[in-house]
């Protein structure tokens, strides 16, 4: 008995090793679950503070570039607004306008609004990448909200703490997004293959869909997370899938994840309602 005890004590580092490895793998496993532990992520108070500090320092570095992009985007939107006004004018001129029609002001026709936020931590070097942003539960952010940049789709909110949130970007194998080629209604599923941060793959797109290289890929709007029509990227190349019934597209992402700085979080007022409804449907 004493021999056994002595043996166990002399090999105690083995037990310690095994225990520590088990702890590590439990952490890894829990991280792979969709809902992640706040204590072990950069949305926790201490690590979040440091990430936020380093984020606020580095955010100055790209300021010139961001400024240029924003003013470009601004100009684009202004042009579009003018175009629409012009269109509206001609339409009004062509029709007899019914003055008595009033919109129901309590009903919001477009159930989305957005919150601006800054990226305080962003990883692109791993296979499972995450982004931390500086808005949290207190700003009305909840899990499953969509995140977009001024150029296109970024990802989906996964974990939320009081003042911070962790986002799963397109650059993460857990992220799946229903997308379509702009201008038609057939949709496919967007995933990332872990290779390049500039490309993702759109799979299961029916073979009779017509498109050319360079066409825009947008969100389909079939989930509660993103409204339809948000730009994801452009078609870079395509090939037939093995079973010959579907196309597999390589999509050049419009968001540049390497220089991500400001993002918007989309809030959908009807998300809960739709999810509840779909939940009921599943139970049938």
């Amino acid at each position: 008995m004493r021999k056994l005890l002595e043996f166990l004590i002399s090999k105690r580092h083995w037990f310690l090793f095994i225990i520590l490895e088990i702890i590590s793998f439990i952490l890894i496993y829990r991280n792979n679950a969709y809902q992640r532990n706040i204590i072990f992520s950069s949305a926790n108070v201490v690590t979040g503070q440091i990430a936020s500090l380093s984020g606020s320092i580095t955010s100055y570095i790209n300021l010139r570039e961001i400024n240029r992009e924003l003013s470009e985007r601004n100009a684009e939107l202004e042009m579009e607004l003018l175009e629409r006004q012009e269109e509206l004018e001609t339409l009004k001129a062509d029709t007899t306008l019914f003055k008595g029609f009033a919109l129901d002001s309590t009903e919001q026709s477009y159930p989305y609004d957005f919150v601006m936020s800054r990226v305080i931590y962003n990883s692109i070097s791993y296979i499972s990448n995450y982004i931390t942003i500086n808005k949290g539960e207190k700003d009305g952010i909840a899990p499953d909200m969509g995140v977009v940049s001024d150029k296109g789709v970024v990802g989906v909110v996964s974990t939320v703490s009081d003042h911070m949130a962790v986002v799963i970007p397109i650059l993460n194998p857990k992220f799946k997004l229903s997308c379509k080629v702009k201008g038609n209604r057939y949709f496919g599923s967007m995933t990332w293959n872990g290779r390049s941060i500039y490309y993702a793959n759109l799979e299961q797109l029916p073979r009779h869909v017509e498109f050319v290289i360079g066409d825009t890929i947008v969100t389909s709007g079939f989930s509660t997370i993103f409204p339809p029509g948000i730009i994801v990227g452009t078609v870079a190349s395509f090939e037939k899938e093995k079973d010959d019934n579907f196309f597999s597209l390589e999509v050049k992402l419009s968001t540049d994840f390497a220089s991500l700085n400001n993002v918007r979080i989309l809030r959908n007022y009807r998300q809960k309602e739709q999810q509840k409804l779909e939940e009921v449907r599943k139970n049938d």
């Binding site: 310690l16 520590l20 590590s24 890894i28 692109i124 070097s125 995450y130 962790v166």
Partner: protein, 172 residues
């Protein structure tokens, strides 16, 4: 003794923060990321017990994990190399080494030290990248990442060691 602990804490703070704030953002061609914080584990004094080495390695890995949103990955890899550290040291320099000395160029010779660093870093990176690829397995890409990251880490550690004044002084 107190001095060694104090020095260890300073090393820990310096190299972990350099890793988190600077090197975590480097991913050359999306392939290579250097992990300089291993230098802290490499420089732990010879002769501290295996259990202590394991705990130190685990805590170091966990700290890196907390800041890079990779719970458990670095902790697992560091615990793994921590476990084999004393065996590696013994493999390259035999058994009769004075206790309480940090491995360095001057003390152990450049080629032995580099071999020690290389095998240490390689073990760590293989383990780390294998765990990472559990989510998405891609053998060729995995091998590329291990190779280039290891290369980058070794070069960086070799440079840091060459400029580490304290190690130079101790060798005289």
């Amino acid at each position: 003794m107190i001095n060694t602990i104090f020095k260890g804490i300073i090393y820990f703070i310096i190299f972990v923060s350099v890793q988190i704030l600077v090197l975590n953002n480097i991913h050359y061609l999306r392939i290579a990321t250097p992990f300089i914080y291993l230098y802290f584990l490499i420089k732990l004094p010879i002769g501290i017990s295996k259990s202590v080495t394991l705990i130190i390695s685990f805590v170091t890995g966990l700290t890196i994990d907390l800041f890079s949103n990779t719970p458990g990955m670095h902790a697992a890899a560091c615990t793994f190399v921590g476990f084999y550290r004393s065996d590696l040291i013994r493999l390259f320099w035999g058994k009769d080494l004075p206790e309480g000395v940090s491995p360095s160029y001057a003390f152990l010779g450049i080629s032995s030290f580099l071999r020690y660093v290389s095998s240490f870093v390689l073990l760590h990176h293989i383990f780390l990248f294998f765990i990472e690829s559990l989510t998405l397995f891609d053998p060729l890409f995995l091998a590329l990442r291990i190779f280039f990251s290891t290369l980058l880490s070794i070069v960086l550690i070799a440079i840091v060691e060459a400029f580490n004044m304290e190690a130079v002084k101790n060798g005289e």
